[in-house]
Symmetry: C2
Subunit: 120 residues, 2 copies
């Protein structure tokens, strides 16, 4: 058996090229923005809590480091390109930032990829 059957080409990545209707794009944008708002609200809430507990200089620089990490994570996580959106939604489902209800109206092609990825 040729080892080529194990190459990346063996797996379909056709979902990257799925066509998104205008209605689906609007639903996706709404779910994406909802999750991002929730995520940012949570960071603001946590930052306020951390600041209340601040006592030592070390804790100040830990807070700076934590903010930098959160910003980088959020930048990486929230990528609104249709070619990666099912994976983005899969992460958000897994983290509880959105529910399947928030994605209602997307085509079964997108939902199936999202569900499979969320289960991995």
């Amino acid at each position: 058996m040729s080892t080529s059957s194990y190459s990346a080409g063996r797996y379909s990545t056709a979902w990257r090229d799925l066509r998104w209707s205008q209605k689906e794009k609007a639903i996706a944008r709404k779910a994406f923005d909802l999750a991002l708002t929730r995520e940012l609200d949570a960071v603001i809430r946590q930052a306020k809590e951390r600041a209340t507990r601040l006592q030592e200089p070390d804790e100040l620089w830990e807070m700076e480091h934590w903010l930098t990490q959160r910003r980088q994570e959020i930048d990486a996580k929230y990528d609104f390109r249709y070619s990666v959106l099912p994976l983005v939604f899969a992460n958000l489902l897994r983290d509880g930032r959105i529910s399947e209800d928030d994605l209602r109206g997307l085509g079964e092609d997108k939902l199936e990829v999202t569900r499979v990825a969320a289960s991995l």
Copy 2:
């Protein structure tokens, strides 16, 4: 006239090589630590105030940037090498982080350099 008279060598930097007695070292360390503690306490206080006012995500990342800047400024400003300490104290005097009283006991050679640098 030779232009060499305008080279850096024209100005004495002998103050970089001043001898610090054990007593002077102890006084310098105490004044330095006092100023650093005051500076860090002020940053902690300001961070708490900023966090209280946080409402928008942009303000969160502005706070991160502000913390990074404060850390870098403090790192650069608090340099406990005897060869630069008169300049460090000059900055701290100018910023009101220490008073001349905190430096009492240092030799007139160090105080004179500190005063001149603070006045620049």
